[in-house]
Amino acid sequence: MAPAGPSPGEPSAAPRPPPQVFSGRSFSLAAAGVVLAPAVASAVHLLLSDRVGLPSAAAAGLAVLAAAAWAAAGGGLASALGRRLAFHEIAAATLLLVLLELGPLAVMLPHLRGLGLVVLSWQAQGNLVLALGLVSTALLSGTIAFIGATLAYLVLGSGRLDASLGYELFMARSHLKLSPRTVLGLFLVVVTGVVPGLLVAMAWSLWRDAAERRAALRRELFQRPRMPATLLMTLISIGGVAIGVWALTVVLSVMSGFEADLKRKILGAHAHGVVLKYGQNDFTEWRDARTKVLAVPGVGAATPFLYNEVMLSAGQNLTGAVVKGIDVATVGTVTDLSRNVEEGKLEWLDRAGDIPTARFPREKDLEKLLGESGLGPSKGLKANEGAGAPGAQTRPQPVLPGIVIGRELSRSLRAFVGDTVNVVSPFGDLGPAGPQPKSRPFRVAAVFYSGMYEYDSKFAYVSLGEAQRFFGTGDSVTGLELKVKDVDAARPVMRRVLTALDGYPYRVKDWGEMNRNLFSALMMEKVVMAVILGFIVLVASFIIIATLIMLVLEKTREIAVLKSMGAGLPSIMKIFVAEGLIIGAVGTVFGLLLGWGTCLLVDKVGIPLDPEVYYISNLPVLMEPAQFGLVALAAMALSYLATIYPATKAARLRPVEGLRSE
């Protein structure tokens, strides 16, 4: 009866071609997506920041988004073309990008001009960081392309556009068995810091044991409700994701807090930008320049300054310092100096006569000091004069000019408001044996506290006139300090300022340039921290993989039945992807809530720090919504990626196997 044709052993001439593993067309699409994504990012960034004039951060964000969309589109097309996941093609494309970056590109790199800022900053950190940065860019690009490919397969894999998640979500929820009560319980366990929650659970379990034993004694059957293993695994994965997101948000918020604190202090003590002039002691037209600069849109205020390094001495104490001559009337519009004054008054720089005398125990020292320096008590020391100094001189006493010093400087010099401080400049008059240091006493008019140790221990301010007289610079200043209206737009504003001044011999610097090392170190630290803590989320996503594999194994029969009813591969995949996403989403929401709560707690209650070490009394926290959003996005992306392997495993199960296991 059987037709003579096919013999039983060998398969018949296959009517269907065997499924393709690697297709050239898919690969070229994937390669276009993955390899060109970094180029897209830098092109879009260049376009947005230079042509459109968006602020750098916004332009960078949009550029990354555009590149991600590009890579995802490439991956999606590659997958849609073959109606497969196109995993091999994307992996090959990623490898190609890595090779390109480490091969020809690395050779060309020193010759390439106009590289992205990111690449330049990697280059500055050395070859290892550069290579790591390039490789991780390639991996990120490939990962995003793979996400695009899987999404495209889920939506288009059935051969028609099918983005709905109707019954799949229904199935996913039944698999996870997450009742609101269970979720709440898990949340409480995580909130209470795991240990108390587990203690309660153990007590509950002990109580159940006792009940079981009592029932056994009475020869009754006690059905102890048991938690299904998969539910337990689900809860553990949710907890894992939550803890990862929690740690990331809290640590990044604290680091942002430190950074913001530092930025505030730096910008408070210093200007947002400075205008300098090449050459020495010839910036005499600063009044005109100031008027021009103030006319530039975006500039809020400007004040002249004279910068010199000196030594300060008071009694036996000596220290190096920076003396800045400032215009008392306008300095308050640019820096926070007047607000940072703790004792005394900034205005006393101009009205030295108003500086009160030093406090009582120091009067004798002061008299001695004044006697030695041959200056005698000044007019300001009326109290002293009232006491009737025996050797009162007849000629009028000169008023000592005022000086403002930082708190740490005041401590190390033991000089307080009213005390005299000697300013010693190494570049002084010409004496018989060459240049002699020049020294002049000033009286402390005020003590400031900026919160930056570096500033509080190194900076001293005198009035501009006094400084010019002391250093003999005539009417010249070092430069102008500027305040811009938008701190983050300081760089373009400073560029406009330079244009308004017709460039050379002027030059400008913004706060970012002046503190580049500090901020790039902070950024680096933050990135490294995010990567290290990201490993927690990574581990959590591995738990998700394990949980989903367990679920797939438990549900083989169900998958077979669904397939017998006509559920396609993408449809089965959707069930398990939905499960992983639910786990990830619940965990992420938990983590965000916990992170937010912890940050609020740290912010409101305050965790004291040793101010001697950190110069901050409390742990600073800055909650940035964008940062929280990024952490959530990363956690969800990792959860999503974790679902792909178990979901494909489920989708590829042969229905017959599931039906046989009865």
């Binding site: 039983p8 398969p11 009517p15 099918d162 017998s564 006509g566 009865e662």
Partner: protein
Amino acid sequence: MPGPLVRIEGLWKTYLLGERRLEVLRGVDLEIRAGELLALTGPSGAGKSTFLHVVGTLDSPTSGRVLFEGRDVFERDEEELALFRNETVGFVFQSHHLLPEFTAIENAMMPALIRRTGRAVARRRAEEILALVGLADRMEHKPGELSGGEQQRVALARALCLQPRLLLADEPTGNLDPQTAEGIHALLADLNVKMGITAVVVTHNERLAQSLPRRVRLAAGLLVQS
């Protein structure tokens, strides 16, 4: 006279179990006409389930063809096969294989939901079919709360939800007591008449097989017409 609904030509199914080659089907030929109610009998291990799975495209043959309305079903790709199973074939298994977390009506709706029919439409259709199999008042019960016969009726309702052209039942009464089994068979015969469904019913029970219009017997991988 139109051609047969299903035409099976030289169906071989061979499994390789390590060194040993297991020949489950050894060249089966069969024609099933539209509207036919066919009983497939045979001893355990004769390859009845495998035959049913291959005809229903859950498994692919080692060689041979299954023509549905003259077209080889295995020419389709995976997704087309899924669509074929969804629209054209209904399965009933020995152990009902209902989804335990869902109610009777939700189980019966499932094929319609897989086809992306709207929830309301799917529900209405499932209600009709459940009423047809005599479960109008048990719709909101979960499988665990139903008797064996009722469970199998729900499974039947699920298989019939999308009005398939071909119903494949793999020992639908194998786990039931004779009386209930009789009820299910009567229902099948009734539906065959009412809905004009073509059905292949695998059964051990010779007495029940005798009640069906056409019987074929599978023995050692070969068909024995009876």
